[in-house]
Each structure stands twice: as C-alpha cells, then as structure tokens.
C-alpha cells in the first residue's frame, strides 16, 4: 500500500475536525504488515519476575509431549499455560512510541510508518504450578542400577537418560529437576542418571553399617577414606561414596571427610526392606524385628515411616503395611480418590504425609482437606472421607 503523506494526514485531521495545535506533531500511520494475518505471533502474559528474566537474556521453555498440557519453565519455576480469550482485538505494533517517548525525542512533524506485526483476540495466561516430577522417577525406574556385576547393563535395551534428555521430557524447570534428582538419591553413572535398585542399595548400606560396627566408629563420625579402602574391593568406590552421601551428612574435620549417619533414613530403609516382603505385618512383631535389624545405637520410631507405611489401628491385632507416597497419583483429585479407596476415613495425622507434597506454594494441608474431603467425627476424633461415593 502506498505510504501516507503529510498532506493526506493533515487532510484527514481537517475532515475529522481535530485541531493540530492540540496534538503532538508526530503521527503514526498504522498499516498491517505482510505477516500480520499469518497467526504465527502469539501473546504470553508474564507473571512477576519472568519479564526481568527475559530482559536479562535468560530463556523460557515450553515443555510437553502431545498427550500433556503444555507448561512453561523458567530456570527455577514451572507454570501451567491456559488460553484466555478477550472480546477485544489486540494489535501488536513494533516501533510505536508513547507520548513520553515522543516528547523526549522532540522531533518535528514526522510521520512514523508503523507496521502492525500481528493481532489476536486471545493470549496465554500463566499460573505457577507444582513441577510435574513423578515422570522423572518413572523414567529412572525403567532401568534401576543393580551394580557393576549385573548382566543387565551390558545387554540393556532400555533408554538411559542424560540431563539433556530429562530436560526435554520432564515438565519442570532445570533447577526443580536437579533438586528432585538429589531428593531421590539418583546418581550419574557413565553420564546417565540412574536410580539404584533397592536391593542393591540395601546391600551397599549393609556394607557400610557392618563396617561401622566392626570398626566401632561413632555414627556421627564415619571416615570416607577408610570406607573406600575397606570396601573398595567389594563395590565401586563411586557407589560407596554415593551411599554415604545418600544416608549421611558430609562434613570436613581437620582436613578429612566424615559422614554423620542419618539415623531416621537408615531405619526407614530397613523398614522398607522388611515390609516389602509381605502384604502386611503384625505391628508388634514388626516393631520387634525392625529394632533388631537396625545398626547398634539406632532407635526405631514409627514416625520415621511417614509416607512409607501405614498402621491399621482398627484391625486386631494392629497391622502395618507398605504404602509409598511416590507410588500414588500426582494429580490432586486422583490422589485423594486413591487414598479414600485404600481407607474410607482418615485422621489428619495419618493422611498428612500422603498429601503434603500436593500443597502449592502457600497452600496448607488444611486447605487441601477442605477442598477435597469432607470431615466428620468418629469416636470423638475428627476424620476425613471422600466428598463423592467411591466406586
């Protein structure tokens, strides 16, 4: 289209009966650019902080497979994406100046020919969400590491995942993914992230606890060097160090590396080892065997098993069974459905470890219970059950 001239602009002003003296001298003549109708441009509404990140040159990534809802990830946060419609038309105009910018510029009667790059009547809205990390564990559990002697690794046809692979498959930010890898005690073996097969993990742990016992080391001061020396012939050194990092707190004393063993985590692992061999256990029998099975000097407590096992106080005798929170659904409604399918009525104390991870940034367990459950009194105790009939 021909570009408008000053004369044409002035003529239009005259027809419109606008007084040029009341207007700034510069005018934008807006036309539609060649790509305008193409629909290749879209708008993304930015949550606080994201604008600054982009201006600092950092990336935002949209992640999701075909069967997943798209999420947007910054370096350390994850957001759900949703289309918001508006009844108005939104035009995006490059090079369009505001009155402040024009005044600052103090140009004379210039015509600024601006091309509208695109237009839309909707935009992407973001809402901060929990990173979708269940898939991470699922991927790594496809092929747990069973140790160097395992035949499996040599002939394995399963996918193994590098950090890059995980970044492209998991709907979470890089920091959230790396943090979760640490939480689940994953380790990098030959460049791939692996989770240890539980039996192998217990085997490694037993090497360490037996050594602690035979050396009579205090549980709070286990020397790394000696462990590597004594156990290096049995298992790879990286695995020995990994198990110490997983089950202990590393510190340096006088230039030497030590570990303060984590009593709760060790007791918990031994409980899991015992419980996974049966559907359920007589509670008092279990507690006896469990205490006998943990290293000398450690004390077992039922609260060490939150999110791992559940006590059934209604059965006679009382029983305990394995119920791992990481095996339950990730979606809020599905999680509650699953929990109410396992047990009809829950006390807040019992259910909290199984819904804690669902809490959004400032959300409480109480708020979740209000939303997804119905409360009632049972024998003077407040209990929660499903809002809907369970089929």
């Amino acid at each position: 289209a021909a570009m408008r001239s000053r004369a044409e602009v002035d003529a239009t002003l005259q027809t419109a009966k606008l007084n040029p003296a009341e207007l700034l001298p510069a005018v934008h003549c807006l036309s539609f650019g060649p790509q305008a109708g193409g629909g290749e441009c879209c708008l993304l509404q930015l949550e606080p902080g994201l604008c600054a990140e982009l201006e600092a040159g950092r990336s935002l990534v949209i992640r999701g497979e075909k069967d997943e809802h798209a999420v947007l990830c910054s370096k350390d946060k994850t957001y759900d994406m949703k289309i918001a419609d508006t009844s108005n038309m939104l035009l995006f105009v490059p090079g369009c100046k505001t009155p402040e910018e024009l005044n600052a510029d103090s140009t004379s009667c210039t015509i600024i020919h601006s091309q509208i790059a695109g237009f839309s009547n909707n935009y992407w809205e973001l809402r901060r969400c929990r990173p979708k990390l269940k898939k991470l564990r699922k991927l790594l559990m496809e092929d747990p590491y069973e140790g160097p002697d395992s035949q499996k690794d040599q002939t394995s046809t399963f996918s193994k995942y590098t950090t890059e692979d995980l970044l492209s498959l998991i709907q979470a930010s890089e920091e959230e993914i790396l943090h979760q890898l640490q939480v689940i005690d994953a380790c990098k073996i030959e460049g791939y992230w692996r989770i240890l097969d539980f039996d192998y993990e217990v085997k490694l742990l037993n090497h360490v606890t037996q050594l602690i016992d035979s050396e009579s080391w205090p549980l709070s001061k286990v020397p790394l060097c000696t462990c590597l020396e004594e156990l290096g012939s049995l298992e790879p050194r990286e695995m020995i160090e990994h198990i110490l990092l997983s089950y202990g707190r590393k510190y340096v004393d006088d230039g030497e590396v030590f570990f303060e063993m984590r009593e709760d985590k060790i007791c918990r692992a031994i409980a899991q080892m015992l419980l996974q061999n049966a559907v359920k256990f007589n509670l008092s029998e279990f507690e006896e065997v469990w205490q006998q099975s943990v290293p000398e000097g450690m004390t077992t407590r039922l609260d060490q098993l939150q999110g791992l096992a559940l006590v059934d106080k209604s059965s006679r005798p009382e029983t305990i069974f394995l119920l791992k929170v990481e095996d339950l659904p990730e979606d809020n409604q599905e999680r509650f459905n699953s929990l109410f399918g396992i047990r009809e009525k829950w006390t807040e104390v019992d259910i909290t470890p199984y819904i804690q991870d669902l809490c959004a940034e400032k959300q409480t367990v109480g708020a979740l219970l209000t939303k997804y459950a119905r409360s009632s009194m049972l024998n003077g105790v407040k209990v929660y059950n499903s809002r809907r009939p369970i089929s």
């Binding site: 408008r4 604008c51 990140e53 982009l54 040159g57 935002l60 949209i62 009844s87 369009c96």
Partner: protein, 111 residues
C-alpha cells in the same frame, strides 16, 4: 527463548470489536489508520470514518510476543512442542474503549 541482545519493546493497541478488511484482498499491507496523541498524551486513532479516544496503560503484567518456529526434527526423546522465540516485550498498551465518534464527511449545505 530470549535471544542475545536487548529485546525490542512493542506496544499493544487494544480495540473493541473486530478488524475487518475493507477490500477483499485481505489485511496484509492495508492501512488501519492514523494514531495521534493530544498534547496531554491522550491517544487519538482515526480509523476510516471513526475517531477513537483512548488511554495509555502501563501493563501490570507485561506480555512477551512469541513467534513460532517450526520445530526441527530431533532423533532423541525430545519434547514435541514447536520452538517459540521471544521476539519482543510489551509493557504498554493503548486502550481504545470509548465508542467511536463517526466522522461526518458530507455536511449538507444550508440553503
């Protein structure tokens, strides 16, 4: 992703209703109208036979303009969403909500 170098700052123009091409050849290349500002900074848009008065709004939540690039095919287990590039940021909008004042071009002369 954000690219190297400063991101361009664009402006959003928000109009009521739909934009339709006057001619059948489509929108690309056609004129929308003239955008003026009064000395007080009020945006005035002349579109066809209408005058629209608006206001300059600083957006509480800025927008990023995403341009879709065809996703390059990748062999490894990669996400299948196309790649988007952030082309510009929008922190300001010109909001035209007032009813357009029609421009009357032919005033019958008084006899």
């Amino acid at each position: 992703s954000g690219g190297a170098g400063a991101l361009a700052q664009w402006v959003l123009v928000e109009l009521q209703g739909e934009v339709e091409p006057r001619q059948s050849r489509g929108l690309a290349g056609s004129l929308l109208g003239d955008l003026h500002y009064t000395c007080e900074g009020v945006p005035v848009l002349i579109v066809g036979h209408h005058i629209l008065y608006g206001k300059v709004v600083q957006l509480e939540k800025p927008f990023a303009v995403l341009v879709k690039r065809g996703g390059a095919p990748q062999p490894s287990p990669a996400g299948s969403h196309g790649h988007y590039t952030v082309t510009a940021l929008i922190k300001t909008k010109l909001l035209f909500k007032t009813r357009p004042k029609p421009i009357i071009t032919h005033v019958p002369k008084k006899v």
